[in-house]
């Protein structure tokens, strides 16, 4: 809620669990974030870094019916994003469109394009293909992996295929390979599983417990970064799934999220429950730079 001493801050009314960069907005540096409040009115904020880079400006403020557990922005249309939300007892996921703004910030309603309502259990995340326009979506709940085909103009999403992860594998999240439209990595309790979307079958797995988050390197093929509860950050070469290529110490408590810089090789950003965000330079030896609080 509060920037570090050297950073720029932006205040939300309530706690938030997720933030996503708006990839499709090529003119500005924009982010979209949603609050997580069980009992209050939740909001989605569209934030833009001012041209001078000194200020974060709220570009839009929209009310969202439930607390938001996951949010990601559509990589080809800056006005579309997906959320995973919870009423406290049940979960839902939806695709939203930000209505045209005419300069006013009076909390207009978000337009629901589609509702991804085939899930029963706890939904974990919705994935867009990170590399560009693709009419498919993936949503992951505790037990299943869904592939949706999305038609924005018809405002409809249909389940294209579905596969259960199998007994005793509780999925917790995933990442879509930016280099291969058919490859998805899904994290579960004891491993990272790799799925081929054409056959909806598991292709391989990295056996590793307690992986919280995984992210592909946007530049280099076969490179996956994972964040784990106690043992920090690992960089894997998917062709050698036995031993990590590199090991970073991570955070003093859990490492929650990890992501690779899409432009610069070896820059990895990680966030942990010790309230720090660390920036790593991985190809050379690790140098971290705790930056600001999440």
């Amino acid at each position: 809620m509060q920037g570090g001493s050297s950073g720029i801050g932006y205040g939300l009314k309530y706690q938030a669990r997720c933030i996503s960069d708006v990839k499709a907005d090529t003119d500005h540096t924009s982010f979209i974030t949603g609050t997580l409040s069980l009992r209050e009115e939740n909001e989605v904020h569209l934030i833009r870094l001012s041209s001078g880079g000194t200020e974060l400006i709220c570009e839009g403020l929209f009310s969202h019916p439930n607390e938001i557990w996951d949010l990601s922005s559509c990589p080809f249309d800056q006005r579309i994003f997906s959320t995973v939300f919870s009423t406290g007892e049940s979960y839902g996921a939806a695709i939203w469109q930000i209505p045209e703004l005419y300069g006013q910030l009076n909390s207009p309603q978000l337009e629901r394009i589609a509702s991804l309502d085939a899930h029963v259990g706890k939904i974990n995340c919705v994935l867009w293909w990170p590399s560009g326009r693709h009419d498919k979506l993936i949503s992951i709940d505790d037990e299943n992996l869904f592939l949706w085909s999305l038609d924005c103009s018809k405002k409809a999403a249909q389940v294209q295929s579905k596969e259960s992860s199998g007994m005793l594998h509780y999925l917790s999240g995933g990442a879509w390979d930016p280099h291969d439209v058919n490859a998805v990595a899904a994290t579960c309790e004891s491993s990272v599983q790799f799925w081929d979307l054409r056959t909806m079958k598991k292709t391989s797995a990295i056996e590793r417990a307690h992986i919280r988050n995984a992210n592909y390197d946007m530049k280099k093929k076969h490179i996956l970064v994972t964040a784990e509860d106690e043992s920090g950050i690992h960089i894997w070469d998917l062709r050698k799934p036995k031993i990590p290529v590199k090991e970073l110490p991570g955070h003093t408590h859990w490492t929650w999220a990890v992501t690779c810089n899409p432009e610069y090789d070896g820059l990895i950003l990680s966030a942990g429950t010790d309230s720090t965000v660390n920036l790593w330079l991985a190809p050379i030896s690790a140098g971290d730079e705790p930056n600001s609080e999440a």
């Binding site: 809620m1 706690q15 069980l38 043992s231 408590h253 859990w254 309230s275």
Partner: protein, 781 residues
């Protein structure tokens, strides 16, 4: 020339020029110059032009000069005339005397021809007479020559007939040299006529020679004969065309045979010296006798080699290889020996024996450069010894450490970890010191071999320690399971299955690392400085082989790593427990809390186990019950404390809305209480860190769930119960309070209806739990 005698005035000079120009082979070489220059000197050249001269003279000179010139010229001409006359006269005189001599010669030659004719006649008559004498004596001379030849032949025949007898006589008197000389002298005749006229003779003498050869061979092989005699025998045999190479090979074989004998003896000596080093059989007598026996046999061997060399002087190369083989064999057995576990005294004994052998051999066979050769071999052996010593030390230490894994299961020892720590400390320190002492023996010994190797040994020991300590660090990490188990030596991680024990082991390793850094390394450094300084074989630019600073750094970081690893392992166990607790029930449909949930017991059990482990290994820290983080903004944290406590007391009873506000207020101060501090090597610090991490995990697990009122109350109850026991074991109560409150705040935030339990009910439930625990206590002490 007569003119040469004339004093060199102008005139004479000109005349000489004149004459030389007259005699000169090429008169055209000079002519042009005067005409060109037109000087008055041109008068002496061949191309003299009188008209031009006159014109020039008239033009250039005045009358007086002309007159003077005229007078001069007239005088000159007169002089020239007289000179000419004199020349002619002299030449005429010479001609006359030459004519006279010719006349005399003519008269002398007449009459010589007649004398020559007489001389020829006389010579002819002398020749004819001498021919006459020659022919008359010819016949007699032929006869004499024939007689002479016959006599010689007869003498030879006599010699041949006498030969067998003579040889027999020689054999009797052992004058083999003469016999061989006679026989070789007779050989050509036997070759020519042996098959016909002298058959018997030949046979007899061959028999004799066979006897001689046999005797000579016997002499050659008999060790009792003097070396000179044997050498002579060899030479004689060679002269008799006996296949000496064969003999040589045979003798060499014999030497090799004795070499094998020697080698066996080396083995025996090792055995004996090993035995003698047993405390039970420490008898000097048993030690001495085999050594002397060995020495004697080596001396014998050396003598044999000396003899062989003299007998076959061209066999140096074979002997050198033989001797080198011996040394190689020695060192091979030594290296085999080194593979077993031996003390340096044993090795020293062996080396001493070898060196003595080498010196003995060197006297005999200097070309083999055996000392250098054995120096090289010894270098290898000693190096291997140093390496293997360190390997054994490493093995010992890890054995001691691995014993930790085994012992607690069977033996009901009270403090298995403490025992292990003490044992491993002792193993490291004592082991290192023993090794150093061991190596000191090498340096103190004045054996020539070792003196030369001194510098190398120093370097090896230093390098060895460097390598050993790094390897030890690696081994620690391997034992702790931090390294990827895909590394080659898998066998060492077999103890890693039982996790509980392993965690204790990690703690032991952490403490041991610190011990090594703070105690062992300074000791080793001291010792090395005292006994192993110098040793420049490595070169200065490489620096000393043993770098205590680097090793210290390695172990310090290893210690930290291991301690963190221990904390992590312990936290992970608790984390798994908590994860199960929070992910299994449906919190939204939770029932009224009836009692404190049993995960609390499990959690406290884990902490107790940790406490037991930690108490065995780590020192007690300073007692700081109300310690607060002094590393980050202590003033603000102390100020925030009463505020937070105040807030907390109310938050338990007040409604959610105001609570939210206070949560935010608390967030402002959240950073000020430092949760993640540096772990120190004290019981309290480690336990506190683990508890803090566990509580933080607990909070995060709570934040991931959504609770109904009962679920929230259950959490509240559990946390409230935890409060007292946790404070007992942790050094920083404030942080624990803060973290527990955080859990409750998180739970209330994630609760649909955050109505806390009434304090009386809370109290009653906690009392019930405590009573239940007390009831169990007598049963499970």
């Amino acid at each position: 020339m007569g003119t040469d005698d004339v004093p060199l005035d102008d005139k004479a000079k000109r005349m000489r020029d004149l004459l030389s120009s007259f005699y000169s082979p090429d008169p055209s070489s000079t002519p042009n110059a005067p005409s060109k220059h037109g000087t008055l000197d041109a008068i002496n050249t061949t191309s003299f032009d009188p008209d031009q001269y006159m014109n020039l003279l008239v033009q250039k000179s005045n009358l007086e000069a002309l007159l003077k010139r005229h007078v001069e010229m007239a005088a000159e001409i007169k002089n020239l005339d007289t000179d000419l006359q004199m020349l002619v006269y002299e030449n005429y005189n010479k001609f006359i005397s030459a004519t006279d001599s010719i006349k005399r010669m003519k008269s002398n030659i007449v009459g010589m021809e007649a004398n020559m004719g007489q001389l020829l006649d006389k010579i002819m008559s002398v020749q004819s007479r001498s021919d006459g004498v020659n022919t008359s004596l010819f016949e007699k001379r032929e006869h004499i020559e024939k007689l002479h030849r016959t006599r010689n032949l007869l003498r030879k025949v006599q010699f041949i007939y006498d030969l067998p007898a003579r040889l027999g006589k020689c054999i009797k008197s052992e004058a083999y040299a003469d016999a061989v000389k006679f026989y070789t002298g007779a050989m050509p005749i036997f070759k020519a006529y042996g098959d016909s006229s002298f058959q018997d003779c030949k046979r007899a003498s061959e028999d004799a020679v066979a006897i001689i050869v046999k005797n000579l061979q016997g002499k050659l092989f008999s060790d009792s004969e003097s070396i000179q005699a044997r050498a002579e025998a060899a030479v004689l045999l060679k002269q008799l065309d006996f296949p000496v190479d064969n003999l040589q090979a045979k003798l060499l074989e014999k030497l090799e045979q004795s070499l094998w004998d020697l080698q066996l003896k080396t083995d025996e000596i090792e055995n004996v010296s090993m035995d003698s080093n047993d405390p039970s059989k420490q008898g000097k007598v048993s030690d001495l006798s085999p050594t002397t026996a060995h020495e004697a046999s080596v001396r014998e061997f050396a003598e044999a080699i000396r003899a062989y060399r003299i007998i076959f002087p061209d066999s140096g190369r074979q002997l050198i290889t033989l001797a080198q083989d011996l040394v190689i064999n020695h060192f091979e057995t030594t290296e085999q020996y080194v593979k077993r576990r031996i003390s340096s005294a044993n090795l020293l004994g062996v080396l001493r024996t070898i060196w003595a052998d080498v010196l003995l051999m060197d006297e005999v066979l200097h070309e083999a450069v055996l000392p250098d050769f054995s120096l090289e071999a010894a270098q290898g052996a000693v190096k291997k010894y140093v390496a293997s010593t360190f390997t054994y030390l490493l093995q010992d230490i890890s054995d001691v450490l691995l014993r930790v894994n085994v012992s607690p299961k069977e033996a009901a020892e009270e403090h298995p970890l403490q025992v292990a720590l003490e044992a491993s400390r002792k193993a490291v320190l004592q082991g290192s010191m023993d090794v150093l002492l061991d190596f000191c023996q090498f340096l103190d010994d004045d054996l020539g071999l070792l003196v030369k190797l001194r510098d190398f040994i120093i370097d090896w020991v230093q390098e060895g320690f460097q390598g050993f300590l790094s390897a030890l660090d690696d081994r620690f990490l391997l034992l702790s399971g931090r390294k990827n188990s895909s590394s080659p030596d898998q066998g060492l991680t077999e103890g890693a299955h039982s996790e509980k024990v392993l965690a204790g082991l990690v703690l032991v390793l952490a403490q041991l690392s610190i011990f090594i850094e703070q105690t062992v390394i300074p000791r080793i450094t001291e010792e090395i400085a005292a006994s192993f300084s110098g040793g420049g074989a490595r070169g200065i630019e490489n620096g000393p082989a043993f770098v205590p600073g680097e090793i210290c750094r390695i172990f310090r970081s290893a210690g930290e790593k291991l301690l963190h690893h221990y904390v992590n392992m312990r936290t992970q166990r608790v984390s798994a427990l908590l994860r199960k607790r929070f992910s299994t029930p449906n919190w939204v449909k939770h029932k009224e809390p009836r009692e404190v949930h049993m995960f609390v017991d499990l959690f406290l059990q884990e902490l107790k186990a940790i406490g037991i482990e930690v108490k065995q290994i780590l020192p007690q820290g300073l007692l700081r019950k109300h310690w607060r983080s002094d590393s980050n903004g202590s003033t603000t944290s102390s100020r925030s404390n009463p505020l937070r406590d105040d807030k907390m007391s109310r938050s338990n009873t007040q409604r959610a809305r105001s609570q939210l506000l206070e949560t935010h207020l608390a967030k402002l101060f959240k950073q000020k209480v430092e949760i993640f501090t540096k772990v120190e090597y004290t019981q309290e610090s480690v336990v506190t860190t683990i508890v803090k991490l566990c509580l933080k995990s607990l909070q995060e697990f709570v934040r991931l769930q959504t609770f109904n009122r009962s679920g929230f109350q259950q959490i509240q109850l559990d946390i409230q119960f935890l409060r007292t026991p946790l404070k007992e074991i942790v050094e920083d109560e404030a942080v624990i309070d803060f973290l527990l409150d955080e859990v409750i705040v998180a739970a209330s935030e994630r609760c649909l209806d955050p109505t806390p339990l009434e304090p009386p009910i809370l109290d009653r439930l906690i009392q019930a739990k405590l009573a239940k625990l007390k009831e169990q206590n007598p049963i499970t002490p």
